[in-house]
């Protein structure tokens, strides 16, 4: 009963914060709400006893990704977004596409049955996660990380200015 209440509380919080991310005009406020969304999602994971996922959500998304967003916003110095005047067709698109996407997601969720995960004291899930990553799917996992590394180095090479003497 209490678990359900906690779950609903965090779920509603996550959805409301996610909506606020989109409607804010100030990019920094959006990021704050994004942080709230991330934390509320972690709360949902905790309510479902997926403690490992919740902790990783806080650590990686909260502590890592959101902070990177903040950095980018500070560095590119985003000003408040001035709403531009739009015609009827773009407005229809603005409303129609999200509604369609939402409908698609809802139908998919309604059609798919979710097998219930095993729970218990070991139910925090990091053993299962570790077995998946480092035993069943080791090769795809490593390949993905090499791909990410290559992309990272590529981005640096492309973005770097020529003729810099770096003393360090």
């Amino acid at each position: 009963m209490i678990t359900l209440a906690v779950f609903i509380f965090f779920a509603v919080l996550a959805v409301v914060a996610a909506l606020l991310v989109v409607v804010q005009k100030n990019a920094m406020h959006s990021v704050l709400y994004l942080a709230f969304t991330v934390l509320a999602t972690a709360g949902v994971f905790f309510a479902l006893q997926a403690e490992y996922l919740g902790a990783i959500q806080i650590l990686v998304y909260g502590g890592g990704i959101v902070v990177l967003y903040i950095f980018v916003i500070i560095i590119v110095n985003l000003k408040e977004i001035v709403p531009e005047r739009r015609g009827l067709v773009p407005k229809l698109f603005l409303v129609g596409v999200p509604v369609l996407l939402c409908a698609e997601v809802v139908t998919l969720v309604m059609r798919t049955g979710f097998p219930s995960a095993p729970s218990g004291p070991e139910g925090s899930g990091f053993r299962e996660m570790a077995e998946m990553l480092f035993a069943s799917y080791l090769l795809p996992f490593e390949a993905a990380s090499i791909l990410l590394l290559a992309v990272l180095i590529g981005a640096i090479v492309v973005a770097r200015r020529r003729h810099i003497d770096d003393p360090d």
Binding site: M28, H29, Y52, A55, I58, L59, G62, G63, V67, I74
Partner: protein
């Protein structure tokens, strides 16, 4: 014991305690720091309010309560007001997962001296302490003034960089204890008879240096270097909002000291837990041992602050990326190797 006491009174009492305990430690620390630094520098320090000046932090807090709350016109009011709350929230919430002592048996009821025991408690605490970065950077940005912004940027670079060696050394402990549950880690140290700090001294030293850097304390207090940045990210804050930043910094120090004690120095265990001749040490309650140990590390914080001059910013970043992270990686490999071979 009636269900009312067990299900309502005790949880509520614990919640109050988990908020009060860091606050009391903060007050003690502020007094201790000012007195000890003063003694080390051949001054007297605050010694007028109460016995030896112990009530000085209380007087300061009262003063801050009544101060005018200033916010300059260009500031972003929403972010400016929410930042101190974020910093404080993340520091206090983490204390829910800190075991303060061994469970106490009262008749059939077992009173645990922690609020939550989670199989991933260690990760959650690390995550929460990285959340406090939000408060710093939002506060610095929302002030809309140059020194806070520079302080906030420095702080984030510093905290994010030093989180990597912290994470790597914490992993070695989780590896040896085979658990990320703080209570379980202490129990494993009890069972093995060795504190992990002596088993893995490199882990401890790297963790401690990164911990001092993560709490933005001297010699790594670049984000609030007064000679360069006035007061860093909280330059524009006054009154209770400033006090929140200030108290959160000290609460974070208490949290980090607790983590060091739990991960590397046996939490609530007495010294030499497995030596028979020293069994009488078990007569002292675990909570007292825990307090003695964290007081030592809090004192160490003050000691370091009074001893070492401040780093330059590039030296600070070089230290972490060129020394601590490689060292932590090698240390991790060695620990993993020993763990697998044994």
């Amino acid at each position: 014991m009636t269900p009312f006491v067990a299900d309502v009174l005790i949880p509520v009492g614990k919640i109050v305690a988990v908020i009060l305990y860091p606050m009391i430690m903060v007050v003690v620390m502020i007094w201790l720091e000012r007195r000890v630094v003063a003694l080390m520098q051949g001054r007297l320090g605050p010694n007028r309010v109460g016995f030896q000046g112990v009530l000085q932090p209380v007087a300061d807090a009262v003063k801050l309560f009544f101060k005018e709350d200033i916010m300059q016109r260009q500031a972003d009011a929403f972010l400016f007001n929410i930042s101190p709350v974020l910093v404080m929230f993340s520091s206090l919430l983490a204390f829910c997962f800190v075991p303060l002592g061994e469970p106490i048996r009262i008749g059939t009821y077992t009173l645990t001296l922690w609020i939550a025991e989670s199989p991933v408690g260690l990760l959650i605490i690390l995550g929460l302490s990285s959340i406090s970065v939000f408060g710093v950077i939002f506060g610095g940005w929302a002030s809309n003034s140059k020194y806070p912004l520079m302080g906030a940027l420095r702080s984030v670079v510093q905290v994010l960089s030093y989180e990597i060696p912290t994470g790597l050394t914490v992993l070695t402990v989780a590896f040896v204890a085979r658990s990320m549950d703080l209570v379980e880690i202490v129990r494993r140290q009890e069972a093995s008879g060795t504190w992990y700090g002596f088993l893995m001294p490199v882990s401890f030293i790297v963790f401690w240096i990164s911990a001092v850097a993560e709490t933005n304390r001297a010699p790594f207090d670049l984000p609030e270097a007064e000679s360069e940045l006035v007061a860093g990210y909280h330059t524009e804050y006054s009154g209770m909002k400033f006090a929140f930043f200030y108290m959160a910094e000290y609460a974070h120090m208490v949290l980090v000291s607790s983590l060091v004690v739990i991960l590397f120095f046996g939490g609530w265990l007495p010294p030499f837990p497995s030596v028979k001749a020293l069994a009488f040490l078990h007569a002292v309650p675990g909570f007292v041992w825990y307090l003695v140990k964290i007081m030592f590390f809090l004192y160490l914080y003050v000691w370091i602050r009074a001893t070492l001059p401040r780093y330059r910013f590039d030296a600070l970043i070089r230290l972490v990326w060129k020394w601590l992270i490689p060292l932590a990686l090698v240390n991790f490999l060695v620990v993993a190797l020993v763990r697998v071979l044994r």
